[in-house]
Point group: C2
Amino acid sequence: MGDRVIIEQLKKIVGEKGWLSDAEDLAPYLQEWRGSWHGATPVMLMPETTEQVSRILAECNASGTAVVPQGGNTGLCGGAIPDTSGTQVLLSMRRMNRIRSISAENYSMVAEAGCILADLQRAADDIDRTFALSLAAEGSCQIGGNLSTDAGGVNVLRYGTAREQALGLEVVLADGTVLNSLRTLRKDTAGYDLKQLFIGAEGTLGVITAASLRLFPKVRQRGTALLALASAEQAVALLAELRGRLHDQLLAFELISAPAAGLAEKHIQNVRMPFEIAAPWYVLLESALVDDGTEFQDEVMRAFEQGLVTDAAIAKNEAERNGFWHLRHSISEAQKHEGASLKHDVSVPVGVVGQFIDSATLAVERFCPGSRVMAFGHVGDGNVHFNVSQPIDWTAERFYAERAAMAGIVYDVVAEFDGSFSAEHGVGVLKRTTLAHYRSGAEIELMRTIKAALDPRNIMNPGKVL
Amino acid sequence: MGDRVIIEQLKKIVGEKGWLSDAEDLAPYLQEWRGSWHGATPVMLMPETTEQVSRILAECNASGTAVVPQGGNTGLCGGAIPDTSGTQVLLSMRRMNRIRSISAENYSMVAEAGCILADLQRAADDIDRTFALSLAAEGSCQIGGNLSTDAGGVNVLRYGTAREQALGLEVVLADGTVLNSLRTLRKDTAGYDLKQLFIGAEGTLGVITAASLRLFPKVRQRGTALLALASAEQAVALLAELRGRLHDQLLAFELISAPAAGLAEKHIQNVRMPFEIAAPWYVLLESALVDDGTEFQDEVMRAFEQGLVTDAAIAKNEAERNGFWHLRHSISEAQKHEGASLKHDVSVPVGVVGQFIDSATLAVERFCPGSRVMAFGHVGDGNVHFNVSQPIDWTAERFYAERAAMAGIVYDVVAEFDGSFSAEHGVGVLKRTTLAHYRSGAEIELMRTIKAALDPRNIMNPGKVL
């Protein structure tokens, strides 16, 4: 078999400890962590060097063998899982996990694709700097995957997404060519900015093997408050005000609906709302402090006096701060106790988040009476996790059967507001048809043109994104 | 003549007031503003709508007619000037100059390509926001050109380059297809981020017709100081320190060498150094203030006590602040009084700016004894304007004859430090061969692949960049 010969060649490139093919060993890498997708592969390759990646891709390109790059396998759209044909080679970046260099003076580091995000955060911390990317999966996700999906997370308001953290990339192209653009420059107008192509491309245009990354000064102190508000529109107005008043030092501005907060309080231990009277909306506000906290307190008080917030609790210590964040982080977990939920990671312009939530809620309740909208998310970035819990008297199966229809209802409203059906989770296989439906013909056509130009044999993660 | 028929067709698309072909009318658009490049064209088209641009490009693509897009014609590398063949159509964006929308709550606006940068700054100011892009040509440069060259300027340290200001673009592709990606989202992972392709591509991949742009809160107050330092290395160390201490609120960190400051003092009216003893290096430091200025003063004092700076003057009022900036802005002008100068807009990693300047100065003095290095620039971005004035006893002609050789000397040192031979001025025609020389074969090849894929008939600004 020609195929078998190729697999043997590929194994030789990575050496004895560089591959897995036993079904049991492979299992964790062939299923999405929640079990939503399962795939098959003849071999998982674990290269240790860029040169090995280059030789692997050259071999695969020559033989027309499909390659699926995988980082920490924490994605939510199935982008890192091979299909079920059993012909796609899995390329795990986990052994390319060295920090090649780090510089406090240059506020930068160069890290290989397989570095765990939390390890990069620690490395920056060790030299009194911050690597700003932070998200729930940071203990196991890898920077290569973060860049390939243009990951967002909790610090986007202040620092931008993964894209903004990248100063340069090392990429292996489909034919094995190594593209070294690992510069750590702040300004560079020497021709096209090639790295941008690969950020957010989910491994369909090449394999990111290393990245030079931006570091920031550490935030010395932060102020955290939980605010009660009359409406989501008020939250948008408050955000617009506070950005200016707090010197554009906001770190988080997370909106939580009353039903979402209620669920967390009901189902999750140690979640307690600090307010006597329930409000329709809450905001978890966090800002870097520029003094002893006086200004932060004054501005929260001022928002209260102006009627922008109806109640406010400022964290007096780390325990209270953790309590507020515990509430925010408990929502997804709490939803599980209420049966099935359909999740929609969407974004709209920040200024219309309130209107969007109102419109989408109406549309959902009309489509499926009794379903319960749990809206929350990174409103500072216009990113709403618009989750819908099943009607109490439905079965999960019945509700899940409405998945596509419900998504259509929500995404149609998103489109009305010029938003995106994928804010920070990418496309993968999950939203491939969604992409084709909601983006214009011209956009899809140009994406295809680029894909065909960079990967003419369609070996790079085929069947994902496009 | 087929060509004449095409020109008549193009004129019809834009209507009577939409074109110029009289030599006198065309003159200002056919030469680079300093006179470094002159071109010729059968017609300058001035479309008023995206649809007209679309029809123009469709026509030009069908007939294989080259198109040179032009904004405010303030570029420094000849990217907006047609060649001398007289066959390239000039596409001026000046009549597409509407602000389509602006929103304080969403911190964004949508502006057409022909909008003058200063007009956009004013529009943002009117709604209590800042449009952060700012550069010397802002009174006449256009946002389409700024984006097409990924312009830098004085605010990059805090806000990033033109690229970071773009939330979305409307672009007309070579074949006339309109790509509308004018979303104003902070997070969007729905497929490839197509707008990135056109930013910094200098009109070689399509024509940017409009952009949705990011706004920021206004900086209420700023502190400005002129600092004297023993070395450029100290400046780098000081920058690394102050970024953290001043809450990452630095707006400018401009390095000025003693010779550069000396020239400004000698030749330009009202430039006065506030120090009794001259120092080898100066830094113009500006930061947003988070209090009444006490912290800023304290931190400057602390830098002095730590020996990072040898002297310091804090601007006590707007007049003193203007005086410091007058010094910074007078350097280029002052150089003219010292005869010919060869200029190099380069960038290196911020952490090695000092070492780079030392190495490059040595190399230049060895190559051309008696030549005088005037180094200054946006050191916060690693961007050095490494200018060299002629030896006093040379003629300008003799010195200019060394232009290419001198550039080679400087750019070789830049390459040693993993820098860029073009920090913020682009490539145009000036640095086309430089690009081919200093960037890797893989990078150039990929740029060509993209160019061929997006503009197969090579009608978009041919002969520029690649």
